[in-house]
């Protein structure tokens, strides 16, 4: 592999505490190194910003519900499809881009690692087929556990060890990365058209509450010592007043300590916090509770969050929270797709238009930004749009602009039809904090990598780490004349390296890279009871045989990278 020297850039690396110093970054054989030979190819980064490749902690970019979105929204691609260009395959789609476009768009913005946030286990092969066809970026997928019948039955009897053994089996069978929980219990209730809107609503038939599921899965996660923590989309998403349910959910983690060998400090990751920070009792008195949520998280160090910023676009919502999507189609009357997955989960899809002319949408916009600006520790709060739910990930540069420039926020507030309502129902107008580039690197690189247990591998520029590097046409020494320049700079990188291969040059794709699929291989003590239970459920209730479920052919994961965990002790 070739050697590179990225010279004279302004480096921002929270892993090493580098805050914009002029430094050279050396790359050899896929890794960041101290030194390279004189034959190294030099990339001139003078007057440019250099950061590690960014890490996406939560997006819906591969798998059955994403593809259902593509299938049922031809209008999302109307006039937006792009031709083959050199080594770049054709692409298309605004809110649900094709797999090729997904890989290219992330890479062009300097993202080199991304997490698919919800993998229905029965469909894992589909998720991996799409991941295979998403070029450049390393990816991993989180199987969903919060409504899984095995989990519900084991946790009803507080059987943490069995839950953990089952989780380990499923992670291996699906080549999954982390324990994801979506509307715990509520999605199973949706099997009967019902829901669990609080952490204490009993799950029909299973005689368990969401709170018990959440606690049990945190404990199973720490029992196994997985790289990432339990990653949760709580109950009651998107409803006025839901922040109370969110606080109830967060409190479940109280007092639980992380146990892992990956440098992770949290036991719960709360995702798309924006959707869970609503006050009010209806859409009329709808208001921000970002302060209440961030106050709690600021005080409790064993929690990390991501934002879920609304980008004010026409987009496509999709979630394993089946009852929520049914609720949403009742509000906007747009086309509704749903898939209930036997014994495991469900998913729904509905298009949505976040119009700047609708006060609720504008307040949602404000809440997402408030969360990012009210969190004191940028290492515990990460920028997402919950792609494509609050907006497409391709809008990250715009979100960054709003976070880095109070002037840009003000311009947007002034453009809202219901400006006064936005100002009265949120405190966005009173916040003048502007994120620094260092904080940005924390929120998009070092922070998410640490939360995912990947801090030894990515999210930083320390020698020995993977050579994932992004160079932006942004000179931190010059004052920003126009906030639009921020958006422009973060939209298209001057250069991007993924594992030491240059994949982007002057905003164009120059290599399809050698993308990897990350997964977690946990060794647990032999557990004959769990294996018997699995066997029985396949014989009686699944529509597929166990052998076919477990047979994940190597060709679906052509370039795997297994993170090994030993939980036998």
């Amino acid at each position: 592999m070739s050697e590179y020297l990225i010279k004279n850039g302004h480096v921002f690396d929270p892993v090493q505490g580098i805050k914009g110093d002029k430094k050279d970054i050396a790359i050899n054989d896929g890794k960041i190194v101290d030194k390279v030979s004189s034959g190294a190819k030099v990339i001139d980064a003078k007057d440019k910003t250099v950061m590690a490749g960014a890490v996406e902690i939560h997006a819906h970019i591969a798998g059955p519900k994403v593809n259902l979105g593509r299938i049922y929204r031809p209008e999302d691609k109307l006039f937006s499809c792009t031709p083959t260009k050199g080594i770049e395959r054709m692409g298309g789609g605004a809110s649900i881009p094709t797999t090729f476009k997904t890989g290219y768009e992330y890479a062009k913005m300097g993202y080199t690692t991304a997490m698919e946030a919800a993998m229905p286990p029965l469909f894992s092969r589909h998720v991996h087929e799409e991941i295979r066809d998403t070029p450049i970026i390393d990816e991993a997928a989180f199987p969903v556990f919060g409504n899984n019948w095995f989990v519900l039955e084991y946790l009803k009897n507080q059987e943490i060890e069995n839950t953990a053994a089952y989780c380990a089996w499923l992670l291996r069978a699906t080549k999954g990365y982390a324990i994801k929980v979506v509307n715990p219990g509520g999605t199973e209730a949706w099997g009967w058209g019902l829901n669990c809107l609080s952490v204490n609503d009993p799950v029909p038939y299973f005689d368990i509450t969401p709170a018990e599921i959440i606690k049990g899965l945190i404990e199973a996660n720490e029992y196994l010592g997985l790289p990432h923590s339990m990653h949760i989309h709580p109950n009651n998403l998107g409803n006025p007043g839901c922040y109370q349910t969110t606080l109830d959910t967060l409190k479940i983690a109280q007092g639980i300590k992380p146990k892992n060998k990956f440098g992770r400090d949290q036991v719960m990751h709360l995702t798309h916090t924006q959707f869970h920070s609503y006050g009010g009792t209806n859409w009329g008195d709808f208001e921000s509770k970002a302060k209440e949520i961030t106050d709690y998280v600021n005080k409790n160090k064993n929690i990390t969050i991501d934002t879920g910023n609304v980008t004010l676009d026409e987009t496509t919502t999709m979630t394993a929270d089946g009852p929520f999507e049914h609720h949403l189609t009742g509000l906007n009357h747009l086309k509704w797709a749903n898939v209930d997955v036997e014994l495991e989960t469900a998913a729904g899809v509905v298009p949505y238009i976040y119009s700047p002319n609708i006060s609720v949408c504008a307040i949602q916009w404000a809440i997402g930004l408030e969360i990012a600006l009210m969190m004191k520790d940028p290492m515990r709060c990460y920028i997402t749009t919950d792609h494509p739910n609050a907006g497409p990930f391709t809008r990250y540069p715009r979100v960054i602009k709003w976070l880095m420039s109070a002037k840009a926020r003000e311009a947007q507030i002034n453009a809202f039809k219901h400006k006064d309502k936005v100002l009265s129902q949120s405190s966005i107008g009173t916040i003048d904090r502007e994120l620094s580039l260092y904080e940005l690197a924390q929120m998009t690189r070092a922070g998410p990598a640490k939360s995912l247990g990947l801090s030894a591998m990515c999210g930083g520029l320390k020698p020995g780490m993977d050579a994932d590097v992004a160079v932006y046409n942004f000179n931190p020494d010059k004052p920003v004349a126009n906030p639009e320049d921020i958006e422009k700079a973060f939209s298209r990188c001057a250069a991007v390296f993924k594992s030491g291969v240059q994949v982007v040059s002057n905003g164009d794709i120059v290599s399809n890279g050698q993308k990897r699929t990350l997964w977690v291989d946990v060794k647990v003590k032999e557990n004959p009871q769990v294996m018997r239970d699995i066997n029985e459920k396949f014989i009686k209730y699944y529509s597929m045989t166990q052998n076919n479920y477990e047979a994940l052919g190597h060709h679906f994961v052509p370039n795997p990278y297994a993170i090994e965990v030993d939980a036998t002790q």
Binding site: P74, C81, R89, W192, A337, D340, S543
Partner: protein, 438 residues
């Protein structure tokens, strides 16, 4: 000695049964017996062993005779045809695996072709409806475990999906359905008293071509509004009874087939059936699912969608993807005279297209990749026989409920025969040379 291979997937229909057992000879070259499959699946496995099978490509000569040629020559003909054509169609893909489909898509991209699958003649109109109104659905195991209302609308699984009823829909005992058939009510809507209709608790013998009206009437009945005395040949009283039966279940499912996708109204029939399902979710839990025909037509739609953004009828001629059935759909393109080359794989348009859409194929450069002799091979210039997918090679497939299952190879193909994927890779590589792309 013989070997028994378990958990074998049946590559016939969209039910994609995965519990077959196949007995093969010790050397793995001969398939001897098939267990657990339906009569069609059994025939599919056994026919692969036919002694009179064509094993080498054949090119049609001016006098109408076939000349046996090598695979390399077949690759050359195919690549040249695709390189020269202004608007080639690459059609089929439903009886092959996703790996082959993926290579095919690359070929279509390089040659700027149109590509389409057999949804063109089965559930293409369902896809249009899904695009218009959505699709509340579920996996087949959900039906087995929960459903107490089963509706077959314009489909006849007793004939087209023989094991569907025993594996998933009518008979199985699931988690919440311990009494199996006893816990379920079956409604069949069909203009004929089909073998499926004979098992029904309620058979609505709808006037052919009036499904849209009947579905609308059900929606009106849910709301308790005024109805004419008779709709689509069914008395309104009977419609109201059926509506109540649907509403009173705990979990219902509508399976629909070509009786609605191909009759007057087409996509709108499905659209209205989906609206019925959506309405029923105000009262109880209801899902709806197309009874997909070919075992991997669903997979083709999935691969098209994640690579190009559309599930079928994709036009890449301008270098980027476009989609609009009526314009970009194979049968319209053929009948309107828009195409100048035809590449068929994993399907038989010669047998299943209206004859006016087959005639143009006979008059243009054409390649048919198919293990069988078919009407399509009978009108094509080049016939390329290949290994039987799902019998002689594995690969991923998607069931009618979009669940992916990896097919298994159970026997070796005859000596020297290529699989779909192997043949396509050769065509792709040759095409790249011709087009000068890396």
């Amino acid at each position: 000695m013989t070997k028994t291979i378990t958990d074998v997937i049946c590559p016939f229909c969209g039910t994609l049964c995965d519990d077959l057992e196949v007995v093969v000879s010790d050397d793995g070259k001969h398939l001897l017996e098939v267990y657990n499959s339906c009569v069609i699946g059994t025939e599919k496995f056994l026919h692969s062993q036919a002694k009179d099978r064509i094993t080498r490509p054949r090119l049609r000569q001016d006098d109408g005779s076939w000349k046996e040629i090598s695979y390399d020559e077949a690759v050359e003909y195919s690549a040249q045809m695709l390189a020269k054509a202004k608007k080639p169609m690459m059609f089929g893909w439903s009886s092959t695996n996703c790996e082959a489909q993926s290579v095919g898509n690359e070929i279509a991209e390089i040659s700027k072709a149109c590509c389409d699958n057999t949804a063109a003649t089965c559930h293409g109109t369902s896809l249009i409806a899904v695009q218009d109104i959505g699709l509340p659905s579920c996996t087949l195991g959900e039906i087995k475990n929960r459903a107490d209302r089963i509706i077959f609308w314009g489909c006849n699984p007793a004939h087209a999906h023989p094991r569907h009823m025993s594996r998933y829909s009518i008979f199985p005992r699931g988690f919440f359905t311990g009494k199996g058939q006893m816990s379920r009510k079956l409604i069949v809507v069909d203009p004929r008293v089909t073998d499926t209709a004979k098992m029904a608790d309620v058979h609505l013998q709808v006037e052919q071509g009036k499904d849209y009206e009947l579905l609308d009437a059900l929606r009106v009945a849910f709301k308790g509004e005024w109805l004419p005395d008779v709709v689509a040949g069914i008395p309104s009283e009977k419609i109201r009874e059926a509506a109540d039966l649907m509403k009173s279940g705990r979990f219902g499912i509508i399976f629909f087939g070509m009786g609605v996708t191909q009759s007057l109204g087409k996509n709108h029939n499905i659209d209205e059936a989906i609206a019925v399902t959506k309405d029923l979710n105000e009262y109880t839990k209801f899902s709806i699912m197309p009874m997909r025909g070919h075992y991997n037509v669903t997979g083709s739609g999935e691969v098209f969608a994640w690579q190009f953004g559309f599930p079928y009828s994709v036009d890449l001629t301008r270098g980027f993807a476009r989609y609009n059935p009526g314009d970009t759909s194979t049968i319209d393109l053929l009948i309107r005279g828009e195409l100048d080359a035809m590449f068929t794989i994993g399907s038989d348009p010669g047998a299943h297209f209206p004859i006016s859409a087959v005639k143009p194929i006979a008059n243009m450069p054409s390649v048919c990749v198919d293990p069988h002799l078919t009407p399509t091979s009978g009108v094509s210039k080049l016939h390329v026989p290949v290994a039987f997918n799902g019998v002689e090679c594995g690969g991923n497939c998607y069931r009618m409920d979009n669940v992916p299952i990896d097919c298994r190879k159970v026997v070796e193909p005859p000596e020297g025969m290529l699989t779909d994927e192997q043949f396509l890779i050769k065509v792709r590589d040759r095409l790249k040379q011709l087009k000068g792309v890396a």
